[in-house]
Amino acid sequence: MSVDKQQLLQFLLRQGDNTLVLGHRVSEWCGHSPILEEDIALANTALDLIGQTQMWLGYAAEVQGEGKTADDLAFLRDAWDFRNVLLVEMPNGDFGQTLLRQFLFDAFQSVLMGRLMKSSDEQVAAIAAKASKEIAYHVERSADTVVGLGDGTEESHDRMQAALEYLWPYAGEMFESDDTDAAMAAAGVAPDPAGLREEYDALIGKVLGEATLTIPDSRYNHKGGRNGAMHTEHLGHLLTSMQWLQRAYPGCEW
């Protein structure tokens, strides 16, 4: 079955923008983590995410067919062009909030990659196969830290519960479905995200339970990131910092 190029491009931008924006967010911890071991671990995670971005946006640029590169897409688009979910652009907050955001995203990625490895699109399947090993480690590490802090001291528990209440309304957007998702599902490129929710809830329910954290009852979701309708004010600030060099010195290479 042939795939609509514009829909495929949209799908690839969603994947690449998620990993790009989160990769940049996590890299903001470099040199600032509570201890050296976590600093290096977070830097590794950020680099993994940027590496995945190169694959997703590289393929996106190829599908787009305008002679652009992954770098062009990363550094020369403005906030309204980005297709990442709002969750990944949320501020780092404290270390616990960063790791909880990471866990909510890693868990989604781990469920999604299992499906994408069987994609009818060979390049998508190959990217997923490579990324899935990194993601398997990411989710193990972030889950362990969420449990360690959630089921830790009274203060760490309270901070993690506050982080969960802050971030929870942003988790649901990952399971939104629209025409692009329908087109990808019909072509066997990617699953309908709505169908991943049950597996995701089981995974995070187990970990958050172990972490003695209470998932909020509300299923209200902030959305608008993955369809580009409206990002939070945080994305613009992030891009200002991330894209500064290419904006100030267009075409600069080193």
């Binding site: 201890i35 050296l36 071991e37 671990a41 590794n44 193990e140 590490r141 362990d144 360690g148």
Partner: protein, 94 residues
């Protein structure tokens, strides 16, 4: 010191068939996290195929002051080195 995580000694096997070698130490709350931290700190440039972690307090060591009786007696026993045998070429490296 009460708020410090315990210290762990890290041993990495560089490739199959080799022994684990001590590469350094790090802090972690438990053995599982020590392995994860070791993976992130010491194998990020593809240095290893296996990791051992041992909490530093579980390592017993010789005292520097005992080195006379412990090590000096073997200094003069060169006949313990297998360098007095002619090894046939066919054996290859030993």
């Amino acid at each position: 010191m009460k708020n410090e995580w315990p210290l762990w000694e890290i041993f990495i096997r560089g490739q199959h068939g080799m022994s684990h070698r001590h590469v350094g130490s790090l802090h972690a709350p438990d053995a599982e996290m020590a392995i994860k931290n070791a993976r992130d700190v010491y194998t990020r440039r593809n240095e290893g195929v296996s990791i051992w972690v041992v909490e530093a307090k579980h390592i017993s060591a010789t005292a520097p002051g005992d080195k006379g009786p412990l090590f000096e007696p073997s200094e003069s026993k060169i006949y313990r080195h297998p360098t007095f045998f002619d090894i046939p070429e066919e054996v290859g490296s030993m």
